[in-house]
């Protein structure tokens, strides 16, 4: 049993970009997580774009999105055998007018699950913004990985099958995927508590 309680979360507020993407906020310097590649990378290079919409269907134009993923071989950066030119971590503000985010990354490989099975290619996604009291965790899977998705331990255990589709990034042109996140409504994205 844990002995201490975690520090309680508070919203990132409307000015999160001052602290987390100061370059984007006009304070100078380069932003951490702005580029996920430090040289030529292995595997398929892809772009992932999307918006985050609220309960009124308006895109969040003040959010911060972070992603974390394995490399093309399913190895997490920082562990043995990982692609040395791939950081695995991206951080982007949503566009202040359109609300769009974009990550230039690689398609991840299969990742081990603790019981020995494999997880389908996926990206861990984390969202903070004004009005979000505790950062939201979700996962991006790829709609064109039907076979792997069908046996993915997390995806396939979502009881309400109709909600699984909210985690699928849809092909949107060559090497491009679209992943729109909805905070509320009939097609509300599945968020995780893990």
């Amino acid at each position: 049993m844990a002995q201490l309680k975690e520090s309680p979360s508070q919203t990132a507020g409307p000015y999160v970009h001052i602290g987390c993407t100061p370059g984007h906020a006009g304070l100078g310097g380069s932003d951490l997580g702005a580029s996920m590649k430090t040289g030529p990378v292995q595997g398929q290079e892809i772009a992932v774009c999307g918006t985050i919409t609220d309960g009124a269907d308006d895109p969040l134009t003040d959010a911060l999105v972070e992603i974390w993923q394995a490399d093309a071989n399913g190895v997490y950066p920082g562990t043995t055998g990982a692609d040395p030119n791939f950081t695995g971590w991206g951080r982007k503000p949503t566009d202040e007018v359109t609300g769009e985010f974009r990550f230039d990354t690689v398609k991840p490989g299969l990742v081990p699950y603790p019981d020995g099975r494999l997880q389908a290619p996926h990206v861990t996604v984390w969202i903070v913004a004004r009005g979000i009291n505790l950062g939201l965790h979700t996962r991006l899977y790829f709609a064109d990985e039907q076979e792997a998705n069908g046996t993915d331990p997390i995806l396939s255990s979502i009881a309400d099958e109709s909600r699984r589709a909210t985690l699928l990034a849809l092909p949107d042109g060559p090497d491009r995927y679209r992943f729109d996140i909805r905070l509320q409504g009939a097609d509300e994205t599945v968020f995780f508590d893990m």
């Binding site: 049993m1 844990a2 002995q3 201490l4 309680k5 975690e6 520090s7 309680p8 979360s9 508070q10 919203t11 990132a12 409307p14 000015y15 999160v16 001052i18 602290g19 987390c20 100061p22 006009g26 304070l27 100078g28 609220d54 309960g55 003040d62 974390w68 993923q69 394995a70 997490y76 920082g78 950081t87 990742v111 081990p112 699950y113 603790p114 019981d115 020995g116 861990t124 984390w126 903070v128 913004a129 004004r130 009005g131 979000i132 009291n133 505790l134 939201l136 965790h137 331990p153 997390i154 255990s157 009881a159 905070l183 509320q184 509300e188 599945v190 968020f191 995780f192 508590d193 893990m194």
Partner: protein
């Protein structure tokens, strides 16, 4: 099938953190998911994360009084030191944690395009900084004490003076953003954002006490702010799929 020993993160206590929807905090109304988040045991994807070395830091990142100031000048306001330690739920120090901070200036104004408060900008204050915890999980930075500021929520809401903190431990499961408040500020208990936290005991954890021991005479007061992130423990991973 047998159970596999696995180091995972015990589940977050969601009754301790503010709930997604807190009606008095208006922005949460349209931005809170209606469904409960689905639980699963952490996997490699949540148990790993980016590692930040000291090479990501600029020499003045820990000094908000100087890091945006013209040569020979300094940010205006009460000079303070903020320090503390980052530990996990099992009281183990979290070394190498990246802490990013941002705040309003001494008058309560942010350097941001969308900021609308009439208080003056300080030409020598940017309002952001970064530090990385040492081997014992300790960190320290200096800044000016931020001012309280009004915000559009209720008819007359004022944020207590605060510093925003973003924390990167050693995994994505530990990712946390929170705010530090100052001991004795009467606005803390009137704030709808603070008020979203269910218990006074949890709120107290975000209130930094004045630390006279670390105060530098004739220079700066000190506040101590300790942070606890989630921790990992050995569990047995049941080898069966559970419905989420």
């Amino acid at each position: 099938m047998t159970d596999t020993p696995h180091e995972s993160y015990p589940r977050r206590d969601r009754d301790w953190h503010p709930p997604a929807l807190s009606l008095p905090y208006k922005s949460s109304r349209l931005r809170s998911p209606n469904s409960r988040p689905l639980h699963f045991l952490t996997t490699l994807s949540e148990e790993t994360g980016p590692v930040f070395g000291h090479d990501v830091l600029n020499p003045l990142d820990h000094d908000l009084i100087q890091n945006f100031a013209k040569p020979g000048e300094a940010a205006i306001g009460p000079r303070i030191i903020v320090h503390g330690k980052v530990q996990d739920e099992f009281a183990r120090p979290v070394a190498g944690a990246l802490i990013e901070i941002w705040q309003a200036n001494a008058a309560g104004r942010y350097r941001h395009k969308r900021e609308g408060y009439i208080a003056p900008l300080d030409p020598n204050f940017g309002g952001c900084g970064r530090v990385i915890t040492d081997d014992r999980g300790a960190y320290e930075f200096q800044t000016v004490q931020p001012g309280p500021y009004p915000w559009p929520n209720g008819p007359n809401d004022w944020r207590p003076a605060h510093i925003h903190f973003s924390l990167f431990g050693s995994s994505f499961a530990q990712r946390l953003i929170t705010q530090m408040y100052f001991e004795g500020d009467p606005l803390i208990w009137r704030c709808p954002i603070v008020g979203a936290i269910p218990s006074g005991e949890a709120v107290e954890r975000l209130i930094a006490p004045l630390d006279m021991e670390r105060t530098i005479p004739m220079d700066a007061r000190a506040y101590r702010f300790d942070i606890t992130l989630r921790g990992r423990e050995q569990t047995l991973f049941e080898n069966r799929s559970e419905g989420l």
